[in-house]
Amino acid sequence: MGVKIRLEKVSFRYGTRFVFQDISVDFHEHELAVIVGPSGQGKSTLLMCLNRLWEEIPGARMEGKVWITLDGQPRCVSDPSFPATTLRRRVAMVFQTPNPLPMTIFNNVAFPHKLLGVRDRNSLEETVRKALMKAYLWDEVKDRLHEDARHLSGGQQQRLCIARALSLDPEVVLLDEPTSSLDEKAARVIENLLLDLKRRLTVIVVSHATDQVRRLADRVFRLQDGSLRLDPSLSLFCVRY
C-alpha cells in the first residue's frame, strides 16, 4: 500500500504558542485513519495543515513539509509555489458543523464547479447527481434540488456537505468530527458512507467517540501534548490489515 500523505517535521503555532511540534507521519492510500485526542490540542489544526486552510487564519504559522501523492506523483503541497486552490480541490474537507452555503441544494453541490467556470447545464446536472449518489443523499433530495439547502435536517445537511466536497473527485477527504452534531441514526449512515468511500479515496477522520473509532478505523493516531503517535490500544480492535 503506497504512501498517500507524508508529514515531515511539521510544527504549528499561533503567534508564539506552539500547538504541535515536529510531527512526522505517513498516511497510506485507501486507508481510513482516525485521529483522536483531548479537545483543543490541535486535531482540527492538523487537518488544516493538509489542505493549507490554516493560511486563512491570521497569526497562524506552519513549519515543515507536507507531501501528498496526487495523480500518481508525490508533490510538496506545503510549498508556496503549489497553488492552494488546486490543493483544496484534490484534498476536500468536511467540517464539524454542517455548513451549507446560503443557496439551493443543487447550487451547493455544483458550487465547486461553478468556481472553475463550468457553465454547461447538462454536465452540472450529471455531476450533481453523481455526487449526491456517492453521498447516499440522492433519493432523499432528487425532487427538491432547488429548495434552499438550509431546510434539510442536520444529517442531510452534513451529507450534502460531503456530496459537495466529493463533487470534484478529490483524492483525499478530511473530516473533522463529522457526526458529532448528529443523532445516532444519522451518524451511522455517514459512517457507512465513509467506509464505502475508502475504497476509492484516502479518508482521514477526527473523532471523539470511541465506538465510532472502533467501527471505522484502519489505524488510529493520538494527538496529545504536541505529538502524534499511533495508538496501539485502539488499533488492537481494528482488524483490517
Binding site: 493560511e55 508556496p80 509555489s81 497553488p83 492552494a84 486552490t85
Partner: protein, 292 residues
C-alpha cells in the same frame, strides 16, 4: 508577508484596485490636515505659533489670536460633559442593570432612536425654547450664552454616551457579578464595586469620544452661544467656539489674516480630535487584549 504564487491575474488586479481605494481614503486623512496647515501658514509666519494660540482676537488692532475661541470650546465641552456624564451613566445603569425589563427596553430603544435626531434640530429648539427661558429666568442679555449652549449640547451628546456606557457595562463578565452576589453584595455594591471598575476602560472611551463630539460641534454653539469673540468669563456671557469662528469668518476676504485664522482653528480642531482618536484607539486595543 508570505508571497503565494497562487491566484489568477484577475485576483491580483482586483486586489490592486481595492488597495488603491484604501490608500486614497487614507490619504484624505492626511490631505485634510495638510490643507489646514498650509493655509494657516501666513498666520503662523506673521506671528509665532504660540502667539496665535495665546493672543486675543482683535483684528482691528492687528491681533489675530484664537485664545478666546479655544477657551470657549473647552468651556463648552467640559461644561456639557459635566452635565452629560452623570446623567448618561445613570441612564445606562438603568437600562443595563437597574430598571425592570419593560421600562429598560423602552428607554434603550428610545435612546437608540434619539441618536437619529439632527443636530440642527437641537439647535433650532434651543434657539426658540431654551434661549428665551434662559433670558427670562437668569436675566442674561439675549439668552444666547454659554449656559444655553451647554444645556442643549449635553442633551445632544447623551444618547451616544449612554449607548457606549451600556455596551461597556454589559461587557462585564457575568461571572464576576454572580461571584459578588454569592458573597452577599446587594445591587448598589455590585454596581459600585464590580461593574463600574470592570467597565472602566469602555466608560473612559465613551467619555473621550463624547468630548470629541462636543469639541467639534458647530451648529449648537453657532446658534446658541452668542458668538462674541471674548474669553469666557461667566456662564451667561456670549462666547464663540473654534467651530463657530470658522463658520462666521468664512465670508471674510480670503487674502486677509483674519481669514487665515480660521485655518488655525482648523489645525487646533484637527489636532485635538486626532489625539482623542489615538488615545481611544489605544484604550480599545488594550481592552481587546485583556478580554478573556
Amino acid at each position: 508577508m508570505k508571497r503565494r504564487v497562487d491566484g489568477l491575474r484577475s485576483e491580483k488586479a482586483v486586489r490592486m484596485a481595492l488597495a488603491t481605494a484604501v490608500v486614497t481614503a487614507a490619504a484624505l486623512t492626511g490631505a485634510i490636515f495638510l490643507y489646514m496647515l498650509v493655509l494657516a501658514f501666513p498666520l503662523f509666519a506673521h506671528g509665532h505659533v504660540f502667539r496665535v494660540l495665546i493672543q486675543d482676537w482683535a483684528p482691528l488692532q492687528g491681533r489675530y489670536g484664537i485664545r478666546p475661541m479655544i477657551g470657549a470650546s473647552l468651556a463648552l465641552s467640559f461644561g456639557a460633559l459635566a452635565l452629560a456624564i452623570p446623567v448618561s451613566l445613570g441612564c445606562a445603569a438603568f437600562v443595563s442593570i437597574w430598571g425592570r425589563p419593560k421600562p429598560a427596553l423602552f428607554v434603550r430603544r428610545f435612546v437608540q432612536t434619539m441618536t437619529g435626531i439632527p443636530t440642527v434640530v437641537y439647535g433650532f429648539v434651543g434657539a426658540f425654547l431654551v434661549v428665551p427661558v434662559v433670558r427670562d429666568v437668569f436675566q442674561a442679555g439675549s439668552g444666547r450664552c454659554l449656559f444655553s449652549a451647554i444645556l442643549v449640547l449635553s442633551l445632544m451628546i447623551s444618547p451616544t454616551m449612554v449607548l457606549f456606557f451600556i455596551d461597556a457595562m454589559e461587557s462585564v463578565p457575568k461571572a464576576y457579578v454572580l461571584a459578588a452576589s454569592a458573597l452577599g453584595a446587594g445591587p448598589a455594591e455590585k454596581f459600585l464595586w464590580v461593574i463600574l471598575p470592570c467597565a472602566r476602560a469602555g466608560l473612559i472611551t465613551g467619555v473621550l469620544l463624547a468630548f470629541g463630539r462636543a469639541f467639534g460641534d458647530t451648529l449648537i454653539s453657532l446658534m446658541l452661544a452668542g458668538n462674541a469673540a471674548v474669553f469666557p468669563s461667566s456662564l451667561f456671557h456670549s462666547v464663540r467656539t473654534l467651530t463657530a469662528h470658522i463658520a462666521l469668518v468664512i465670508a471674510a476676504d480670503f487674502q486677509s489674516l483674519e481669514f487665515a485664522s480660521i485655518f488655525a482653528c482648523g489645525v487646533v480642531l484637527y489636532a485635538v480630535n486626532a489625539a482623542i482618536a489615538l488615545v481611544a484607539w489605544n484604550l480599545r486595543s488594550r481592552l481587546l487584549e485583556n478580554r478573556p
